[in-house]
């Protein structure tokens, strides 16, 4: 017969299917988060190595380009690291909440998922804004010069 999926307050339950899905989500989110943190580190390392190499062998123009690369890599790496820290925290809190059936820890985990998507959305909006500014500057530069 019909079985209600909500409790007496009208809330959805985390049924066995949702529980299994959440456990898999947590596993993959943790892998994605750790890989993302590694990627942020590699981005920063590559930019620093570029500076070291251009300082040792490169010309003045190469050295300037490497410094500009580092200036772009620093905010990029910080943004990537922040994003992936949210993802790793989502994975650990939600995993613990589901395993221990702790509602408060589970809620905190879902809050980190919300923060992850929100931070990603804000970073995308900033990137689109910068891209539009570069295009406007290019068009003005082409028109004037």
């Amino acid at each position: 017969m019909f079985q209600s999926n909500t409790n007496i307050f009208g809330d959805l339950n985390i049924d066995p299917e949702a529980r299994g899905l959440l456990e898999t989500i947590v596993r993959w989110a943790r892998i994605a988060g750790i890989a993302g943190l590694l990627s942020a580190g590699i981005t920063l390392l590559a930019a620093i190595l570029g500076i070291v190499q251009s300082g040792a062998t490169g010309s003045g123009l190469e050295s300037m380009a490497a410094r500009a690369g580092l200036m772009m890599a620093i905010p990029l790496a910080i943004g990537m690291a922040a994003l992936n820290i949210f993802l790793v925290r989502f994975a650990s809190y939600t995993g613990n909440g589901v395993a221990g059936e702790n509602q408060s820890i589970f809620n905190q985990g879902i809050k980190f998922l919300q923060l992850y998507f929100k931070a990603m959305g804000i970073i995308i909006i900033i990137a689109i804004g910068l891209f539009v500014l570069v295009i406007i500057a290019f068009v003005i530069g082409t028109t004037l010069g």
Binding site: N5, A32, Q114, F117, I124
Partner: protein, 144 residues
């Protein structure tokens, strides 16, 4: 009284607090999915229009634009196919998560909510695989 009833409920619930978080996550997920799909469209368009120049071995001498002529062509094609596949699949899965999760939470429909979770699982699977491959490729590039 209410506390007693809550404690007597077996297992976890999507309560008022997590419902708000899921709804907000779905809202931002929807925006990100649209960006992914637009990027996929633009990337495919640029690739179709510029491929003859980008991959041509006979680049005109006066051409000063981007050239993708270093490295193994198979590797190059593989990376582009991987990026295009990631953008379209992650975009669709995120869009499905956003719409199903929001609908499931608002209508209290367990089946629709679980569909949203399934899409979120697929999104994280493809994100983890893509990020892992990118890290490995970056490490290879850095060490060579």
């Amino acid at each position: 009284m209410e506390q007693d009833i809550l404690e007597s409920q077996p297992g976890l619930q999507v309560d008022h607090e997590s419902r708000a978080s899921f709804r907000d996550a779905a809202k931002w997920g929807n925006f990100i999915s649209v960006v992914y799909l637009v990027c996929f469209g633009l990337f495919t368009l640029v690739l179709l229009m510029a491929a003859p120049i980008l991959f041509s071995g006979n680049v005109p001498a006066e051409y000063e634009g981007v050239r993708v002529e270093q490295g193994d062509p198979l590797m190059r094609v593989g990376q582009i196919v991987m990026l295009v596949f990631f953008l379209i699949y992650a975009g669709i899965m995120l869009f499905r998560f956003a719409s199903s999760c929001r609908k499931g939470v608002e209508t209290q429909d367990q089946r629709t909510f679980n569909l949203g979770l399934r899409a979120l699982r697929n999104y994280f699977v493809v994100t983890a695989i893509y990020t892992g491959i990118r890290v490995l490729l970056d490490l290879v590039t850095l060490t060579t």
